[in-house]
């Protein structure tokens, strides 16, 4: 695979890849890692790709597989993600709040972040792609989920998100950052 081919086929989609990766991970550093890993995996198979084919969907599929399959077994583990300082949902939700708003927003943002990290990765991927504006047909092509099953899964994903938010009423077991 030559650099020109990579430049022609992949680089035009890097912005879209990063946006999707950020939706998936809610974290700038992880999103960059995910995009990089996607490019590395894609690079190995780029020679097989038809130039006129759906390159963007293919790249998003590689990313989706990395994100969902890559930690498939992790879903049964009591895993939480440590938020990066200065890169949390709080900033995304409320960029310039009053002090009172700031407190509420930070609490809400932290709650959403915890719920999002607990959400099944497959559900997270579907919601992230939908939030990014991809249609059902596009998401079906990216995830290889038949469209009739996809609509049901999206429905369940939203239910799961609400459930995770409800379960978040209790404080987390022991936030490492706070303990430090």
């Amino acid at each position: 695979m030559d650099n020109k081919r990579f430049s022609n086929l992949v680089e035009p989609h890097l912005d879209a890849l990063f946006r999707a990766a950020y939706r998936l991970t809610r974290n700038r550093a992880d999103a960059q890692d995910l995009v990089q890993d996607t490019c590395v995996r894609a690079c190995a198979r780029l020679d097989l790709l038809d130039d006129s084919g759906p390159v963007k969907a293919w790249l998003l599929r590689v990313m989706h597989n990395l994100f969902v399959d890559g930690v498939r077994r992790e879903r049964s583990s009591p895993v939480t993600r440590v938020a990066e300082a200065g890169d949390s949902m709080a900033q995304a939700i409320c960029p310039a709040p009053t002090p009172e708003q700031s407190l509420d927003s930070r609490q809400r943002a932290a709650q959403i972040e915890r719920a999002w990290s607990r959400l099944d990765r497959g559900h997270r991927a579907l919601l992230a792609l939908r939030a990014e504006g991809y249609t059902l047909a596009e998401i079906s092509a990216i995830t290889h989920i038949a469209m009739d099953a996809l609509t049901m899964r999206l429905y369940r994903a939203r239910q799961s998100l609400t459930r995770c938010l409800h379960e978040d009423q209790a404080p987390p077991a022991m936030p490492m950052e706070a303990a430090r």
């Binding site: 890097l14 890993d37 890559g70 077994r73 009591p78 939480t80 249609t135 469209m147």
Partner: protein, 561 residues
């Protein structure tokens, strides 16, 4: 309007495209259904979160890492050839190559140790692999590494991946917490050493960077007062230069220092099973995560799943779950190692097990699943079973699955063509006959005509009129292992206006009688995005404003399981 219907319509409609009646119905539902209102409010909140612009340095970072990745891929491709050559050439050459590998892989470690002889506790301990001839041995105890105690990549461990576990970073508050973290760390190391195909090395504090396939960093913290501990595990491909590390996994696991595992079901009390959130149990979970999702597929795990598939004492569902798991595990390996991983369902044992399930399962869905999954395997042993299924299985959906796989993989065999000729003439189901004719004719023109003709054929039952189109839509999004699908239904794009009109006429009636078709209707219309015409507008109108008399209960008549 039901909850699921609201979800389907909102998901499948473009912004602003909802009809007035449908919009009002959704509003009415949301005003009374607290669950839906909350689901959608939460979802909208998540959707509205800002996404930052792509960092400026990412493009350069990727440009920097790709050439290195290509070099690594080249090395990986050469390694088996070198190892194979070693086996043929004899022990003397093997020793030479082993030394060469050792030098290449420890170059900067050796340089560091030689240039800084007074450096504090610099070292790597290899505890999993016998040292290669001519290289200083490493013991089972942690030891300080000098220039003579270097990590080695032995050619006798063909295909082995080097895993370096970095020194434990323990931020525990007290001794009990520290003990929990150390148990986690020790269990993690122990579990890694038991995995086949890995060379596990433990780095000592201050060690220089060493070339490795995976670097695992564990940061732990425990607190007796909280009764908790956390373990932050990071797995990455370490950089050997200015190239950034490639991150494989980072997860923060939280557990109890002394969990009450006795309250768990008997099966879960053994922490080795990984169900109890004690340090050893969580370490076991992490090992399973690494084993199944980070490291390339290991033979033992594959064998366990194959054994489950082969176990005729289990019911078909459990056996097929193992089969699905086998594909998943290898699909991950495929992501990690590229195209090197073959289809895990190929091979005599798996094929024999699959045939057993496919021929004996009582549930037609199980039998159909087997034959669909065997698409792409291309094993001769499958042909008689597929032919028998095509000719004699009483369920048309199973015969369809067999026909699809025979067409995809075995059409060059005379006996398959003979069977298709028979099915094309005599099968009781039109879809099977059409698939057989499609296989014999080659090309899709006849098939597309069959889809269109079926839609127009008013002598058929409604479900049969749309059967071929729905089969085509489903097949387009279910591809065999390792294949890439172009997306939903190509045939849909070729339907002419009369066929579209027939579809618009038959679909509402067919949807009224089948939840599956009701679901498919929404997705079908979604797949028609970008096309227009009277029939397509009628279909959109039907989806957006279903008339209760025509479509009673509509999509959400049944709550999801």
């Amino acid at each position: 309007m039901k909850c699921l219907e609201v979800s389907l319509l909102l998901d499948s409609s473009l912004p602003g495209s909802l009809g007035r009646a449908q919009h009002d119905a959704i509003e009415a539902h949301l005003s009374t259904c607290v669950a839906c209102r909350e689901d959608w409010a939460n979802w909208r909140e998540i959707s509205a979160l800002a996404v930052p612009a792509m960092p400026e340095g990412l493009r350069a970072r990727i440009a920097a890492v790709l050439p290195a990745q290509r070099r690594a891929a080249s090395r990986t491709a050469l390694r088996p050839l070198l190892a194979g050559g070693v086996l043929l050439a004899g022990a003397a050459l093997a020793t030479t190559l082993a030394l060469r590998f050792a030098r290449q892989n420890t170059e900067h470690v050796a340089a560091s140790a030689a240039g800084a002889s007074t450096a504090p506790t610099t070292g790597i301990v290899d505890e999993s692999v016998a040292p290669a001839a001519g290289v200083a041995s490493t013991g089972n105890d942690r030891q300080t590494q000098g220039a003579s105690a270097q990590p080695v990549r032995t050619v006798t461990q063909r295909g082995a991946l080097m895993v370096v576990v970095m020194p434990l970073i323990d931020n525990s508050d007290d001794e009990a917490g520290k003990a929990a973290v150390q148990v986690f760390h020790a269990s993690l190391l122990d579990g890694l050493r038991r995995l086949p195909g890995l060379r596990v090395m433990e780095a000592v504090a201050g060690a220089a960077e060493v070339a490795a396939d995976y670097r695992i960093t564990l940061t732990g913290q425990g607190s007796a007062s909280a009764g908790k501990f956390v373990a932050d595990v990071k797995v990455e491909k370490p950089s050997t230069g200015p190239i950034p590390n490639v991150s494989y996994l980072q997860s923060l696991m939280a557990g109890d220092i002394e969990p009450d595992c006795a309250r768990l079901p008997a099966r879960a009390r053994d922490s080795a099973a990984g169900d109890c959130a004690d340090p050893a149990g969580l370490a076991h979970k992490m090992i399973e995560t690494l084993r199944t999702t980070v490291f390339p597929p290991d033979p033992l795990l594959s064998q366990q799943l194959k054994d489950t598939l082969a176990n005729s004492a289990l019911d078909a569902g459990a056996r097929l779950q193992a089969m699905e798991e086998l594909v998943w595990v290898h699909r991950n390996g495929r992501v990690i190692v590229g195209n090197a991983d073959p289809n895990p369902l190929a091979g005599t044992d798996v094929v024999r097990s699959a045939i057993d399930v496919g021929m004996s399962a009582k549930d037609p869905a199980h039998r159909a699943y087997v034959w669909r999954s065997m698409r792409g395997v291309r094993e001769a042993a499958l042909v008689p079973a597929l032919l028998a299924t095509l000719e004699r299985d009483p369920d048309p959906s199973v015969r369809v699955a067999a026909a699809v796989t025979l067409d995809a993989d075995y059409l060059d065999r005379p006996e398959v063509r003979v069977a298709f000729e028979g099915a094309a003439r005599t099968d009781s189901r039109a879809l099977v006959r059409a698939l057989a004719q499609r296989a014999l004719a080659g090309g899709d023109a006849g098939w597309r005509e069959h889809i269109a003709a079926s839609l127009r054929d008013t002598t058929l039952a409604d479900a049969e009129r749309i059967e071929a189109l729905f089969h085509d839509m489903h097949l387009a999004t279910t591809q065999p292992f390792g294949s890439w699908s172009p997306g939903p239904s190509l045939a849909l794009q070729y339907l002419d206006e009369p066929a579209m009109e027939a579809l618009a006429e038959v679909l509402p009636r067919a949807a009224a009688g089948s939840p599956v078709i009701r679901m498919g209707t929404v997705t079908l219309v979604s797949a028609l995005e970008g096309r227009d015409g009277p029939a397509i507008r009628a279909l959109r109108e039907f989806v957006n404003n279903p008339a209760p008399a025509v479509m009673p209960g509509v999509i959400g008549a049944r709550a999801p399981p």
